[in-house]
């Protein structure tokens, strides 16, 4: 300890700090300025996320601060059943534009849940099984072809998927099942599935290929068939990543707007029937923001829906990234 201090002192005495020429000092200053500027730029991403929450929440704030808005759209009016007509049992009704605005968000939640459920029911098996095929069974050539094709599917704008669901899938489904409404939760959900399948496939495939080859070799050497290896060894090893894929797909489905706006029929009906038209949270914002008076209660409610969508997807994203990290840590940790 002492010796070290003495040595350092000695060094400091024997080697003088070189005097920088003005030229070099200027250069050093410029480097610092550039580094500072780049660091400042890095804040943009954080700032964007914070500003989104702040400014969407700011427009919704009137619901909680202004007396009139608080009366018109209290939390109980938004989330609890209300007596809409005298003598009828209380119900959930979304009719924000009427003499007595009815602003229950429950029909919108149900609509979002119905379309999301349909899409997940289709997209999870197709996406995960497709990823399993690409990662485990597909011949190399086919895999090289499959991935860009799925990327193309992911590149289709959602308005085009909505158009396809509206023009083609709705007609096909109505002819096939004789549904009484042409646009309904099933049509919107299937359209939605087209949008989230590539997400699920890509993330699932990534985590499946991250499983070390030694796992597969060990399993095959113990006498398991290729399928058993894939199903009982590789898939469980990649499980958190698969879960992350599903959660990301779920988040995307909740927030997706254009497909549902175009293909769901947009009627805020409370029912369990998947053949009924539905109105989702996201589509409500898209459909009603254009006609609303800036600063009105209705306007604030739409922003409040936006805050909810932001928070849902934020939580889902954090979960997904935590799980993805876990699968990487687990696999690389045990491999080394």
């Amino acid at each position: 300890m002492d010796r070290q201090a003495v040595m350092q002192q000695g060094l400091a005495e024997t080697i003088p700090v070189p005097r920088l020429s003005p030229e070099a000092r200027r250069r050093q200053l410029r480097e610092k300025a550039i580094a500072g500027f780049i660091t400042l730029m890095a804040f943009t991403g954080i700032a964007a996320l914070v500003l989104i929450l702040v400014f969407v929440a700011k427009e919704a704030l009137a619901l909680f601060t202004e007396a009139e808005a608080r009366h018109e759209a209290s939390l109980s009016k938004m989330f609890l059943p209300q007596v809409v007509r005298q003598g009828r049992p209380p119900a959930f009704v979304w009719q924000p534009v009427s003499n007595v605005p009815k602003v229950s968000m429950i029909p919108l939640f149900i609509g979002t849940l119905k379309t999301t459920a349909v899409s997940m029911l289709v997209a999870v098996p197709v996406g995960v099984f497709g990823a399993l095929y690409a990662a485990e069974f597909a011949p190399r050539r086919l895999r090289e072809l499959l991935k860009p094709v799925i990327e193309l599917l992911a590149g289709i704008p959602s308005v085009v998927l909505g158009f396809f669901a509206l023009m083609v899938m709705a007609t096909v489904l109505q002819d096939a099942f004789g549904l009484h409404t042409r646009l309904n939760a099933v049509v919107a959900g299937l359209g939605l599935a087209l949008a989230i399948v590539p997400v699920i496939f890509t993330v699932a495939e990534d985590s499946l290929t991250a499983v070390p080859r030694s796992y597969r070799e060990a399993s095959l050497a113990l006498g398991a068939t290729p399928w058993e290896t894939a199903w009982k060894v590789v898939l469980p090893a990649a499980a958190p990543g698969i879960l992350a894929a599903c959660v990301l797909g779920f988040g995307r489905a909740i927030g997706e707007t254009m497909i549902i706006l175009m293909a769901s029929g947009n009627a805020a009906i409370v029912s369990a029937n998947l053949g009924d038209s539905v109105r989702s949270l996201s589509a409500t914002i898209a459909a009603e923001m254009g006609e609303v008076v800036v600063g009105s209660t209705h306007y604030s409610i739409l922003f409040f829906i936006g805050v909810q969508l932001f928070l849902f997807t934020f939580v889902l994203n954090m979960l997904a990234s935590a799980w993805t990290k876990r699968v990487i840590k687990r696999l690389t940790g045990s491999a080394s």
Partner: protein, 303 residues
């Protein structure tokens, strides 16, 4: 169960996974075939160069093409410097274990997951009502000039939306530049910024281009963020100022598909519009894929 029978069961289930993969490809093929079969006959020179006419029942989509192009151009100008420099910070300047870098990464991942309609609300609440109003007040505009939907606000909203795409792909591109190049440059006496500008960024250029193209393709197709920030239903004039509203291919598709008084009459127009939009995004995606495979091959050859 014997090994053979287990193997047979496995093969059956394997076929099922193949079927799942096939379904995805088949759906893509179905969409493309449907759009091409119904739209190809209607994409003529007149369609591409005329404004809509007869209450959207005839004419072309020229203003929508120009609007989409202008919108994505402005968006690219806004998002590229910010996105690239953020990635440069994350990969070149952030000290190891930097807390700021970690926060930036978390923000980027979450930004990528924010629903596009929320970006629309943000564009309205922040750019139009906050920044726009503030600018009107400061510049002394009596009437609303900046505090209204316009192409500048729509493109900035899309720039925020595509920021994660640019950051992630630029960082990947920077990662592909060998460390030797940096150390060699520094050893020759170049400063960090000189190394960045003359060695690292040129080396990462193809990857950065890929990111740009992907961002453009994403931005060109998004409709929800521009619904309240500047897209117009019908506008024969081309956008001439930064606060003009504009027509947009995606929004035009939405309008034709859902608000047409006569669906059968607008059907060919609708299909042709979708075909143009799809061709545009696919062409951009294809360019990105080609640049990427080429650089990967080059990188593989260099090692």
């Amino acid at each position: 169960m014997t090994y053979t029978s287990r193997r047979a069961v496995g093969l059956a289930l394997t076929t099922l996974t193949g079927l799942a993969a096939f379904i995805m490809v088949a759906m893509l093929a179905l969409i493309l075939l449907d759009v091409v079969a119904n739209g190809a006959g209607h994409v003529t020179w007149e369609f591409l160069t005329q404004p809509p006419s007869d209450g959207m029942m005839g004419g072309g989509i020229f203003p929508a093409i120009v609007g989409t192009a202008a919108l994505t151009l402005l968006m690219t100008l806004a998002v590229m410097p910010v996105g690239v420099l953020t990635a440069v910070y994350l990969h070149e300047y952030a000290p190891p274990g930097s807390r700021l870098a970690r926060w930036v990464r978390v923000a980027v991942v979450n930004l990528a997951g924010v629903p596009s309609i929320v970006f629309g609300l943000f564009g309205l609440g922040f750019f139009i009502l906050f920044v726009g109003r503030g600018m009107d007040r400061m510049l002394g505009h009596e009437e609303m000039y900046w505090a209204q939907p316009g192409i500048l606000w729509a493109s900035l909203t899309l720039a925020v939306l595509t920021l994660p795409v640019v950051i992630v792909s630029t960082e990947e591109a920077l990662r592909a530049v060998p460390l030797d190049h940096r150390t060699a440059s520094l050893a020759l006496g170049a400063t960090q910024s000189q190394t960045l500008a003359r060695v690292v960024l040129p080396g990462a250029l193809p990857g950065i281009l890929t990111g740009t193209v992907l961002a453009i393709s994403r931005g060109a197709g998004e409709v929800a963020p521009i619904l309240f920030t500047g897209a117009a239903y019908f506008l024969p004039d081309l956008p001439s100022r930064l606060n003009s509203q504009f027509m947009h291919l995606g929004y035009h598709t939405y309008v034709l598909a859902t608000q047409s008084p006569d669906v059968e009459a607008t059907r060919p127009l609708l299909y042709a519009t979708v075909l143009v939009l799809l061709l545009l995004t696919f062409a951009l995606n294809l360019v990105a894929v080609i640049i990427r495979t080429r650089t990967r091959r080059k990188a593989a050859g260099a090692h």
